[in-house]
Symmetry: C2
């Protein structure tokens, strides 16, 4: 990543199958721009000065309401902090609750953003494998019975797409309570569930105040906003505010104000509803094209939710190699191995379907087919 | 600060004499809003996706050109990083170049933002007194000969308003080179010089690559943007990019894009020119009103540059107490003692003049007079 930052030239290009990117072509930019213009017109010293460290108050309220209704999060508005991206939330949380040398359970495979942040805070990463219920609590316990931090993606395990069921959730909360661990719940894209209703957040089950809930606007709006939020457990509210004061002094107000209006006026839930429908269509189209073009080359499994599907490679084919070749023809299909801290039983690719316009799906799958055919030889 | 964040209710109110706040009433918001609307209209996957970690490329280029022309900074565009506020730059820089327990020279009195960030990174703060040339290098050397970090405001010492002359600058650079220290140059408001030309940045004199230059858009544009920049010395370019990847994953693109256009189209330097004239008028008005109303109560000294003046209190009067009473009547006049890590010879108040509209100056100075008269009894 850092090498890309240093070396990259020219504007960023969205590539087919890049995971976690929303449908930029379907974002209501005219509406957004009107709300933004109205915010600027209303600007005065109150919202041009330093903002509140904990975040723009109307947005904190809107997020608290939204999380309570849509995600089953139990919180008072005082527990909600707006941060410059979920990554900053992970950084602050890890630095706040742990000391260098403390141990952190991280899913393997698992998301690398939060893992990097926790690692940068000096924690020792203990990889914990994932089964069809998500993070294997018993195996974590066997490897490190005393984690200070447990990082988990319960609503939709990243990148394996499995959902943590109720029993595993209760087991995890009990384990955290026993070992006095802090759980960082990375709830990054659970708005997009195509079958049944979204599962409530783990945080809603927590009765002992050990869950630090982290969400982001990168998936439901767009990543360039660099805005996310934290719901701190009551005991961490004052320490979290203190940490924001020390670390970053809060997030930019203007974009927070636009999002607050976008939510308050009902556009946010309407947009999520529209995207859920659109992403389901793109998902189905990917599965259809994969059946047509990739049979025997890549086993792309349908998913119930989220923004990417897993494509499983035939035995003996290395994901990293395929991924590298795909990049050369403008396709982003990250290798599952990049998400693993220890070897995983199978090799696979992540295929983000949400950012691929329907008219480009067949051609993009075709490009991937060519790459796989070459790699197969 | 953190208590304010937790406890505060209702919208923020700008108060007379609050230091470091620009003239919100004079910001070209209609122009800014038009540029912002154009940016949104042009939005697509390229600038809605995750931005470059080092910052939006056109803004990095614009900042590099501006700093070279206006501040005498010697840098390649690769050395420029856009961050979510100068505070984040301090946090990343301190964590990058030092380990917990290392020592940092900080000016006393001195700015507390950077001091908090360096302290939060685990460094031991060594207060170094300030004379009419700024940070007293020889005294710093006596107290701690081996600082890992030296924090300094050479262009305009904050909050004492003195400028570090050439000899002291060379002494500082030599001391840093001898002790292999990193200098963090906090160049926060030197654009606003009312007498003569702005003094070039210390960074421009550095031949050994030990200066980490930090600037902000909070003063020349407005604080709610939460955007600043760093010029890393060549040896720190890759480590800095790596640290941004680990800490925050970069700043929001949309506001960066607006600033880039604002600079490229010439509005930025025009705005600074206009504000320089306006701030000079407000400065002169403050001095005039202080002479009329505060003689014998507060000795307000004219300044050559910057956004606040110092008001010196009569012997025996405590700045902290006056400041608290002023707050009760809606006046923000921070006590110099808040900026000190060790007692300072005199008690005084900071008086920001840039955010006070001319028609309110006489009345605001009048309120301060009443507070001082009461405190005197």
């Amino acid at each position: 990543l850092f090498e890309r930052a240093v070396a990259k030239r020219g504007p960023y290009q969205v590539r087919a199958f890049e995971p976690n990117l929303p449908a930029f072509d379907a974002f209501p930019m005219a509406l957004w721009s009107r709300i933004a213009a109205r915010q600027w017109r209303r600007s005065n010293g109150s919202n041009m000065a330093y903002g509140e460290l904990a975040g723009y108050a109307p947005l904190r309220r809107a997020v608290a309401r939204y999380l309570s209704t849509a995600r089953g999060v139990k919180c008072d508005v005082e527990q909600v902090f707006i941060v410059s991206g979920a990554h900053e939330a992970f950084t602050i949380a890890a630095n706040l609750v742990a000391d260098p040398g403390d141990r952190a359970w991280v899913e393997s495979p698992g998301p690398f953003g939060v893992r990097n942040a926790v690692g940068a805070a000096g924690l020792e990463l203990v990889p914990v494998p994932v089964d069809d219920q998500g993070l294997m609590v018993s195996e974590g316990h066997r490897r490190a019975p005393d984690p200070k931090v447990i990082v988990v993606t319960p609503s939709r395990q990243h990148p394996l797409c499995v959902t943590m069921g109720l029993n595993r959730r209760l087991e995890l909360l009990e384990a955290a309570e026993r070992s006095k661990s802090w759980i960082i719940e990375d709830d990054y894209d659970s708005e997009f569930r195509y079958v049944g209703r979204p599962l409530p957040a783990l945080q809603g089950l927590d009765t002992t105040g050990r869950v630090i809930y982290v969400g982001t606007f990168s998936k439901v709006l767009f990543p360039a906003l660099r805005l996310g939020y934290v719901v701190a457990p009551p005991s961490l509210v004052v320490p979290f505010a203190r940490a924001i004061a020390a670390f970053s002094r809060g997030a930019a107000t203007p974009l927070q104000a636009v999002i607050a209006s976008f939510i308050e006026e009902g556009h946010f839930t309407a947009h999520i509803r529209r995207m859920r429908k659109l992403y389901k269509e793109r998902h189905d189209l990917l599965i259809e094209e994969a059946e047509k073009q990739l049979t025997g080359l890549l086993d792309v499994l349908p998913v119930d939710s989220g923004m990417h599907a897993m494509g499983w490679l035939p035995d003996g084919m290395a994901g990293a190699e395929v991924s590298k070749k795909a990049a050369l023809v403008g396709i982003s299909a990250p290798s599952l191995s990049d998400y693993c801290l220890e070897p995983y039983a199978r090799e696979g690719l992540l295929l983000g379907f949400t950012c691929v316009p329907p008219k480009e799906m067949a051609r993009s799958v075709g490009k991937l087919r060519e790459v796989l055919e070459t790699a197969n030889n």
